[in-house]
């Protein structure tokens, strides 16, 4: 699910080096070799991470986590891909996971999400489906239509925040900017809107209808 296959731009123009000796040193546990790996590609990986997570601090977290994953996966690296390519893929996957964790469990430290990667970017272990049952419910077309209908019954200003935040997935700040509100006000209004929406939905599903 998180597999990023080989991509076009993970090999830059300056990557024409013979990694073979370097890889041997890395796999032998040579810390200086790893230090060099961090120094050589760290800047580039920071830039890649920043595109996903949007800020420097989180980008640093992602790069750190990615390098640690890389370290753990070194024994499985066969050298068929370039080191930079391999690293790039790990960074992208780590960044995407960071974004997912941000949405679902904002307090979770990145360390707990350290994945183990094979050389081609595939996860070593099975990842539990990160969709909670509630999310699977949302996938059903009929459920989405119901939710949509209930959203339309919300008062004007409540509906706007739910649409922008939960459907379009804009950030709190982005919604605040668009609606000329403070982020705090957005959060308060969103909370009320969601409460209202749950009540509506509960009422819908509590009906003694002949349904599944």
């Amino acid at each position: 699910m998180l597999d990023i296959p080989r991509t076009a731009h993970d090999t830059l123009e300056t990557d024409r080096r013979d990694d073979a000796a370097w890889i041997r040193q890395l796999q032998a546990g040579d810390e200086q070799a790893f230090d060099l790996l961090v120094r050589t590609y760290g800047g580039r990986m920071l830039m890649v991470a920043r595109r996903y997570v949007g800020n420097d601090e989180d980008a640093r977290d992602v790069v750190q986590a990615a390098y640690l994953s890389a370290f753990r996966a070194l024994s499985q690296f066969e050298g068929t891909a370039q080191l930079s390519t391999w690293l790039h893929r790990i960074v992208v996957n780590t960044a995407l996971m960071k974004l997912r964790s941000r949405r679902r469990r904002p307090e979770e430290p990145i360390d707990d999400l350290l994945p183990a990667f094979q050389e081609d970017g595939h996860h070593v272990e099975q990842f539990a489906d990160w969709c909670a049952p509630a999310d699977q419910l949302i996938e059903r077309k009929e459920t989405r239509a119901t939710v949509r209908a209930c959203i339309e019954q919300l008062p004007n200003n409540y509906r706007a925040v739910v649409m922008l935040r939960d459907i379009e997935e804009l950030s709190t700040q982005e919604v605040a900017d668009m609606l000329s509100m403070t982020p705090t006000a957005v959060k308060v209004r969103l909370h009320r809107a969601r409460q209202a929406l749950s009540t509506l939905l509960r009422a819908h599903y509590a009906q003694p209808a002949i349904s599944t």
Partner: protein, 86 residues
Amino acid sequence: MFSCEDVRAALSDYVDGDVSPDLRRELERHLSECRTCQVLYDTTRKTLQIVTNVGSFEVPEAASERLVTRIMKRLTATRHAPTPRS
């Protein structure tokens, strides 16, 4: 009638070449007659070209000494701790 809104909605797919022959025909007809949409299409195409090319540029920025130290510290800690992964 095929409107400018219709063009805008299909623009991303069209740039990718991901449109049906019928839709392509409609789009090309509209584009040949509508200067604004033609410009929108051209500039969108150029945007993607530039973005794609930039992806291959080398980055001048290096990881800071601080970050390197931080990563190496974590690495050493990991190596000397019992393997956590099951």
